[in-house]
Symmetry: C2
Subunit: 258 residues, 2 copies
Amino acid sequence: MTRVYTFTNQKGGVGKTTTVVNIAAAMADWGYRVLVIDIDPQSNATTCLGLDSRNLSSSIYDVLTGEQNADEVIRGTRWPGLDILPSAPALAGATVELNRTADPRERGEHLKHVLTSITGYDYLLIDSPPSLGVLTVNALSAAQAVIVPVQCEYLALEGLAQLMRTITLVQHGLNPALTVRGVVMTMYDSRTTLSRQVAEEIRKHFTERVFNIIIPRSVRLSEAPSFGEPGIFYAPRSTGALAYRVLTWELLRGDGHE
Amino acid sequence: MTRVYTFTNQKGGVGKTTTVVNIAAAMADWGYRVLVIDIDPQSNATTCLGLDSRNLSSSIYDVLTGEQNADEVIRGTRWPGLDILPSAPALAGATVELNRTADPRERGEHLKHVLTSITGYDYLLIDSPPSLGVLTVNALSAAQAVIVPVQCEYLALEGLAQLMRTITLVQHGLNPALTVRGVVMTMYDSRTTLSRQVAEEIRKHFTERVFNIIIPRSVRLSEAPSFGEPGIFYAPRSTGALAYRVLTWELLRGDGHE
Ligand SMILES: Nc1ncnc2c1ncn2[C@@H]1O[C@H](COP(=O)(O)OP(=O)(O)OP(=O)(O)O)[C@@H](O)[C@H]1O
Ligand SMILES: Nc1ncnc2c1ncn2[C@@H]1O[C@H](COP(=O)(O)OP(=O)(O)OP(=O)(O)O)[C@@H](O)[C@H]1O
Ligand SMILES: [Mg+2]
Ligand SMILES: [Mg+2]
C-alpha cells in the first residue's frame, strides 16, 4: 500500500523542504520507491533534487490545471528509486485560478484526484508552501497523514495552534481520514536555552506524537541545495545527515517496515 | 511626508518580521511616529509587539473587508510612538474572499485604499506573509518601496529572482511608482563559508541597493518574541540589536533624516 504524507507548516523556514528531501533520499537509498511532490511555487524541493525549475517544459501546475497527466510530468532524479513531480514558479498563478472554483470541495481536491492516477511507489511525500492557502489545503486533503516540521524557536511554536485548527477543519470536511503522523523538531541548537525550552514545550503538547530524534542545526544541510543534492548524500557523516537517517528509520519502523 | 515601506520576501523564515519589528522600535525610540501594519495571517509582528492576536476584538481583517475603519482597529504598544494595525488568524480566510473579487486591480488595492485614511505617522511599515499571493500583492501596491530581507542561505538567494519578477509585474500594473529601497542581509554566520558566499552573490546582483550593515545570527533576537518585545529593547547590547540600530540609522539617513 502506498503511503502518502504531507509535510506542512505555515510558518516559514522551519525545514519542510529539507525534511522531505532528506527522508525521500534515505528511503530511496534503502530500496524504497519514493515520489516527492513539490506543490510549493518556490520549487525548492525541485532545486534540492538537482532540477532547474525555470527550464522545465512542464510541472505540477500543468497537472493541477488538467493540461497534462502526472506520468507525463514526473521525472527521475540522479538517484535510483527517487522521482519528483516538480514545481515551477507558474504555480503561484494557479492559486488565483484554483481559488476561482466556487465549490470548496472541488477547490481543495485537485491534488487528490491527481494522486489516484499515480502508481508504483511505496511513498508519496508532499512538500507544501508556507501558508494555509488553497495549495496547502490540496496537500492536506490528498494525504493520509501530516508530518509537521517545527523549528525550535518561539514563533514557530506559536504557529502550531493555528496549524492544528486547520488540520481539524480538513478532518471535518475534505479528509476525515487525515491523521497527524508526527512532529519533527528541526534546527535544534543545543547551546541555547531557547531550543531546550521550545523542545520541552513541544513534547509537553504533542507527547508521543513527537519523533524521538531531533534534527540539529547543521550548516552542511544548508550547503547541500547549492549542489542540487540532499544533505544525506552531500555530507553523509554530518550530524544533520545522520539525524535524518535515524528519523527515516523511525518513520519506516513505525509504518511497519523492518 | 509619510513613508510607506513593505518588507517582502516569499521565502519563509528570512527575518521579515524580525526586521520590521526592530526597525519600527528603533525609529520610535528616536522619536519618529511609526505604525506597523501586520498583513500576515500568522500575526507574528502582532505577537512581537506584545499583543495576543487571538484575543483581539478586531484586526486588519475587519479593515480589509470594510467592516471597520483603520483608526478603530489601530492600537498603541508599550512604547510611545509605536502603534500597530494588528493581524489575526481570521486573515487567512480573507485570502479566499479577496481572491473572489474578479477585477485584478480591485483585488490588489484593498490595502492601498485603507492607507489613504491613515494620518499622523512618519513611517508605515508593512510585514507581509511568506507568499506572492493576494495579501503580498496588496502590500506591494500600497507601499512606496520594498525592503527585502534575505537570509544568507542558498535557497533564500534562489527565490530573489522570482521576487524581482513579481515586483516588476506590480510596477507595470498596480503601482508604477514602486521602487526597491534595499536588500537587508540577515542571520549572517561569519563562521560559515556559505554565509560569506551568499553575501558575495547578493552584493554582486544588487550592488548599491544592499544595505551596508549585515544582521548577524543572534539568539537574543529569537528569544525576544517570547517576551513580546523587540530585540532592541529585550537585549539592547546584543550584536543583533546593535546591527538593527545601525540599519535603522542607515535607512533614516538615506531618507534624508539626520
Ligand atoms: N537542520 C538544519 N540546519 C541548518 N540549516 C538548515 C536545517 N534545516 C534547514 N536548513 C536551512 O534553513 C533554511 C530553511 O529550511 P527549508 O527551506 O527547508 O524550510 P521550509 O520550511 O521548507 O521553508 P519555506 O517555508 O520557505 O518553504 C534553508 O536555507 C535550509 O537550507
Ligand atoms: N538575526 C537573527 N538571528 C537569530 N534568529 C533570528 C534572526 N532573525 C530572525 N530570527 C529568528 O528566525 C526565525 C525566522 O525569523 P522571522 O519570523 O522574523 O522571519 P519571517 O521571514 O518573518 O518568517 P515568515 O516567512 O514565517 O513570516 C524566528 O524564529 C526569528 O526569531
Ligand atoms: Mg520549503
Ligand atoms: Mg514573518
